[in-house]
Amino acid sequence: MATDLPSLMQNVVAPLVKIVLLIGGLMTAAAYFVLLERWMAAWVQDRRGPNRVGIPLTRIKLLGLGQPLADGIKFITKEEYTPAHVDKPIYILAPIVILAAALAIFAVIPFGSVLPPIPGIPGLDKEPIPLLVAPGLDPSLVFVFALSSIAVFPVILGGWASNNKYSFLGGLRSSAQLIAYEIPLGLGILGVALVSGSIRLDKVIVDQAASGVWNAFLQPLGLLVFVVAAFAEAARLPFDLPEAEQELIGGYHTEYAGLKLLLFLVAEFLHMITAAFLIVILFFGGWHLWGLTGFSEESISWAQALLRIAVLSAKVFLVILFFMMVRWSWPRFRFDQLMALAWKVLLPLGLVNLVVVAVMVEYGGTLKSQFGGGVYWIFAISGWLALIAAWVVAALVSPSHDDNTPRRAAQKFDTEAEFYRTF
């Protein structure tokens, strides 16, 4: 490592500034997304929601914008109760690991395009500054995968260390669910990687911006598979079996209180934000918007740079709103439905998408020489045809949505003892 000032600025100071901005922004965003989620819940359920807390010690209400602060103070000042029957080291370790892993994912997620060089600051005055903490990491999508697979550990271990049947069940469910849905998630990503020829998130965006065609138009089936799998990975409502309040009290964090519980909850929100970022970056063009943001990363003006950040944030915000709407629109799956969806529906659909995209990429070159820009229409039409065909097949093969009978035939027993004897 060279220790002269320009490289010090470039390699140490600039990343630290980005990290500080990112963590500060994410923590504030997570707090206010909780408020937003409660507002959305209230709106969907036709009630008022939190609207009282404003500036402390005054009567100013500010639409309830002080609520996150009050929630934070409540969590911090709550009694840090540790039950006597827990396995203490792991019990303490679990929330720390889950938050650390959830935050570390953002090392490779771009939160904008680039900033123009800043004159006067050594090291930053020559090249554009990428708005990405770790710009050199080439397999950045695999890095996201790695850290989200690390996030499985604290859930299992927290459930195990709590020494409580409900927590343990939550942990087990969660591990099965996360492992199962990583496969369709990966299949969704593979389609994008084939089209872009890279698994660097910033390159995926630049690729879509240069062509002006977002991946969502070309491979809607991939988008569908990826979004459903991302919901499951973030354990959002139709897939929140790990902590299903009505059955498991709170799942793996039943025995947690105070700050440790807060770490778990913040990490869950960060997972949702990560999923929203990934959906936007992979399928909706990241910071790109036609006619507004341009597509070059070499020369860029300040206005354009800020506009790109705003476009990306707005898209992420819309996806998060969608996440929150789904939460109040869809009942929770049963566990066998959950597993059947992953293995029998999403996995084949993901494979179909991958095959269609692979064929298109293979013959894309020859088609392009023949049709020019019209090749994207061929891509898009075949993608949508694949979606419609796969959807029809899935609807015909799997039971209709209102069929709530168990998949396996039930068996009638006259006495309870007779049931237990079958084991």
Binding site: M1, D138, V142, W160, L172, S175, T405, K412
Partner: protein, 267 residues
Amino acid sequence: MTLDALVRNPLTWGTLLFAVGIWLLLPRGATRGWWLGLVITLVSLGLFASRMPALGDWASTGTFGFLAAVTVIAAVMTITLKNPVYCAIWFALSLLGTAGLFMLQGSQFLGVATIVVYAGAILVTFLFVLMLANPEGHASYDRLSWEAPLSAITGAFMVGVLTFALVGVFNPPDAFDTKFSTVEIDRTGEILAGEHMAHLGGQLFSRHLVAVELAGTLLLVAMVGCVAIVAEAKSRRGQPASRKRQRPKSASREPQRPELRAGEALR
């Protein structure tokens, strides 16, 4: 290498002490000698580290030393603790250290894939099985080390041989104390290029295509074997394999239920 050089080489003593220390640390039933084992193991690791070539400036040396220490100490903890769940956690930490070492060498994909495959998939399955199989973790046969002396000696032997080989590669045999000197290989055009993943994929699917296909076939065979086992169990019982085993009809002391056949749906 003569016997004299071997005796004067700290690596020899490091290997021997490592075997003794690990043997003392391994859970053999008695807890005597744990502290002694810890001290001996640390001394042997120090002996190994004394042969470590310098890596340029303090920052890269420090990073390497930290990651290496995390990896080795976590690995030692993995095999010496008694609670299987703790062993799994230390194993995960060791894998993270390994991934960090890969990253330090510039092989980004290998580092990240180590976490995905080992920590993310295999170790989670371990944990799953450990927790389901024996949640109490009190079975003595699970908490003891089998063949402690043999495994300690084998492990130390392997570590020693590898270290000897590496030191021999990096340092000429008659100049052990010279600085890190090896042939500079220009790898910038190969897999360490900017488009790391694309180059790696290109290498895998051109030069190493047969190996990739063989590995894939191996996994496929394993999967076919799984399916065959399930199908056989299914046909033996004459019903879905996922169902719990029914009691054999001959052993039943209860009267049969003729009106409710197994598998009849209640819709």
